[in-house]
Subunit: 460 residues, 2 copies
Amino acid sequence: MLDSVLQHLDTDQDHAIDRLKQFLAIPSVSTDPAFAMHAPRAADFVADALRNAGLDATIHATPGHPIVLAHTPANQSPPDAPHLLFYGHYDVQPPDPLDEWTSPPFEPVVRDGAIFARGASDDKGQVACFLEALHAWKHAHNRLPIRVTVLIEGEEECGSGNLRPFIESHRKQLTADVAAISDTLMWDPQTVAITYGLRGLLYFDVQLHHTNRDLHSGMYGGTLANPANVLTNVLGRLFDDCHRVTVPGFYDDVIPPNEGERQRWSELGFDEGEFFARVGAQQPHGETGYSTLERKWARPSCDINGLYGGYAAPGAKTIIPAFAAAKVSFRLAPNQDPGKIAEAFTDWLKSHNTHGCRWQITQFGAADPVVVASDSPYITAAAQAIEHCSGHPPVLIREGATIPVVADLKQVLGIDTLLIGFGLAGDRIHAPNENFKLASFTLGCRTYAALLDKLSHIQR
Amino acid sequence: MLDSVLQHLDTDQDHAIDRLKQFLAIPSVSTDPAFAMHAPRAADFVADALRNAGLDATIHATPGHPIVLAHTPANQSPPDAPHLLFYGHYDVQPPDPLDEWTSPPFEPVVRDGAIFARGASDDKGQVACFLEALHAWKHAHNRLPIRVTVLIEGEEECGSGNLRPFIESHRKQLTADVAAISDTLMWDPQTVAITYGLRGLLYFDVQLHHTNRDLHSGMYGGTLANPANVLTNVLGRLFDDCHRVTVPGFYDDVIPPNEGERQRWSELGFDEGEFFARVGAQQPHGETGYSTLERKWARPSCDINGLYGGYAAPGAKTIIPAFAAAKVSFRLAPNQDPGKIAEAFTDWLKSHNTHGCRWQITQFGAADPVVVASDSPYITAAAQAIEHCSGHPPVLIREGATIPVVADLKQVLGIDTLLIGFGLAGDRIHAPNENFKLASFTLGCRTYAALLDKLSHIQR
């Protein structure tokens, strides 16, 4: 049965690219109110595509942008095969800086074997892979081999503020056995990766306030606490000589990767030189005793994401700033609890003598780290689908980044997620000239078509 | 002879205020090119006022705003009395934020016993004190009792970039025995201060660069050096547990105040509570073992004037910034050499392992600290003039701030400066609703008139 589906995908490829172009032409930037009217257009596009693939699709209003929810009709798929929940997002990042785009961000064009537009890889192109897989099954067999639920939101690029409440209030409609998300990278252009672990995230705005105005540094310098001096002094103590975070208890709950994982990672042929050279970094640096992949995938990290307060323009201004501030975030390793770490970090900040300066600490969204079993029947099915379509077995990897919905799906619905992505490091996501390789698009469509087939062979 | 001068000042007071209003109505903001056409107007005003007082005045073009230079005519003053060089500036700070002014910044008005306008206290009002003193002498006696040279620049508020070269190329025209500047504060509304010491200044922009762009903190967090982490770590080591600067050799050359000075300072009745409460500070804080006045007047200090780099807007952005930076400045105590300290600080920064990040250090203008003999005949004459006009002996103080021209006059011309100012802490200099108390204006005019007289009794 799969062969005819794949054959349809092959013959229908030009139409699939046209459909993706239509999707990409909708400037559904979620974070900028100037683009707000385009979110419902993108939701409509997705719902129509799902209906064309034979699903029942509904658009749900939220306090923000609408969420699209779709199901295979009750009578059309075997109840004994696994039920798959696919998640994706139709919103995109802002296109700025516009003058660095070779072609306009919302006028998709194909050149050099890739389709260029904002959202091409993140995430419209990858959502389209799944939509096309559904479409091909519908066309070839007029039904899907398994039950499918599709959840597409429009606020991923601005924090997914309405997603978790939606999942919680639609538990029943979201019932499934396993989830799939296509929003990650391939290992290399030949090798698809199944990502079975993600780090969590914790983000703070940390301000230290003192006087009621900026002061003249000649009049007051040396006589009272300068918040910028104190802030750097406190944050300067965040790491010890082994470059480990000094917040008490920070590492207590971290579950290290097992020996099998470490062994597999060391055999991946990770090109560390290229990883650093690509961004102009001089050398690896991090927690003593770990490899770069271990630091990225399995160890927590702490980054100051920005510093501000006082004078920042060119030249000199001799002030003692009224306040100084930093954005400080943590990537959390498996089993670290964001709530516990948030409290430990806040306590740690407050444990320092600030000589009269006062903390103003704001926490932004927290996301749990996730590791799923890498030997489940779902992963086996996914690996079979990938090998069938790409000719190579997939690699099993983790990622250092965070996809909060994965933890939401686990916590609210109790299901694991298959992270099978078709992006490449050169796709320039979030940057000008974002693009999605046509070869990746084709492989993604075929692999998801095959995944539906492989999952249908699993007995629940 | 002085009595008739002072009498003229009394009867002419309304005209003096009118003249000051005309001066203040010229928006001679030096740092903003939009105001550039007003600098020559202010220079003209000053030159005309000096000519009305009987001096020969010339306007000198510079690469920036013009400098006014004036002399008593050669035949009109006794060559055996000291020759006084008066320095001031006709430029003012920008008036922003405009909406916080009760009356427009360049429409001077008198209310509540003060004249309100940008520059009222810093420094046009204080320059006017000297101009009126000259004017009154001219009117009462048609000559001055001593030789006077007047140097008024228009770039003090933007760094005085053309002043030092001008002084160096006009050594002969600037020959004098002693200088006077009216750009400091009174001790309190009843007590005039003679400031005999100033701290020096050294200012740096310190940037730490690493990657060729901001990085995704999930993709790279924990694997390479984050410049914001490293910068806070390095700057966090700037102070030891006694809150002393850790740069090697930093304190080596500092000459502490002598026992007599410390004794006098402790008897000044400095209101430390008010000093801190005024700016909303919670408590004193600084180098262990010193009083607040000692820290402010006689100890070097180091302040981070601003922090920048990475994400600083509201909310969260999970990046590893490509660079992080700080403005770092030092106030230097007597006998510290800015060049030596600059080198020591730069070496200290570079002594740290930055794990691949690269320093980009820019130094802005350096100014030497200054202390002049507090028992010279000039200071005695100034004290007599002050007591004669205010009814109280002056206090001898130092200041924590920097007036670079004082060191320039010492180094190039070899002369000390009398710093006799009539500003008050409530004058709101550099802020909206800047004002100059009429009582201060009157006292300033009378005191400078008396200073000319008292200096004339000194035999060179």
